[in-house]
Symmetry: C2
Subunit: 139 residues, 2 copies
């Protein structure tokens, strides 16, 4: 038995690829376009960690996707939580839970999927502007 | 960068452990009880695949958890999709999408989290009662 992927539905594929691929740094592994059923699937994974994937399902006909409370978040270990949060913030992504402790941050995808970012190995030394940045919203 | 886990909230920890551990076959790796914040976290993974985990968050004070449409499903590769579906059905779990093709099934957790089961390697030869079993509900 083996974990394969977590699937999330996305309302705007380009916005989502900008978030998961360009900003978060996941790599696109494969893509399935289905003209008849009018959907696109995009499988992504962290570089060097191809076995654990996220599957983006994009239905070509617009739908509204709410987020229930039973789904919590996706979590990724990252090499430098400050550098990634800087990149995300510069691109307009709200850092809902800033890495005040040099260890943990939470952000949300364009579809409101909560994503946890955990510093690899030990926590980094506290650093501004993160150390004194308040939370924004929920995650 | 590395995938760590997908977190889902569960309304009843015992029911959820029965589903994810006893029926689905995941193994409990670690557990965190927090008396002050009144929650329990249980991390599970497929045997031999400890790196890709699911985190169950159980808040001791009852909450209602709905499922939004933005979260899709968790997917696991399994050794024998018929044997697992038999075990699940015998335990009263609805096989929402039976493995008619010997390859793919969908079920739901006690909190309505959709779980995809994919046959390892090639599809198994079609077999009753699965081959002619209709879908039940959505997944």
């Amino acid at each position: 038995m083996k974990y394969l992927h977590t699937m999330v539905r996305v309302a705007d594929l380009e916005k989502s690829l900008h978030f998961y691929r360009d900003l978060l740094g996941l790599r696109e592994l494969r893509r399935v376009d289905n003209d008849k059923a009018r959907f696109t699937l995009v499988f992504l994974a962290a570089p060097g960690d191809d076995a654990a994937q996220i599957e983006l399902t994009y239905n070509w006909d617009p739908e509204q996707y709410g987020i229930g409370r039973a789904f919590g978040h996706l979590a990724y270990e990252v090499d430098d939580v400050y550098a990634l949060c800087e990149k995300l913030a510069a691109a307009g992504v709200t850092i809902n839970r800033p890495p005040r402790d040099g260890r943990m941050a939470f952000i949300r995808s364009p579809d409101n999927i909560s994503v946890e970012l955990l510093q690899k190995d030990a926590a980094l030394p506290p650093r501004e502007p993160w150390a004194s940045m308040p939370n924004t919203g929920t995650w």
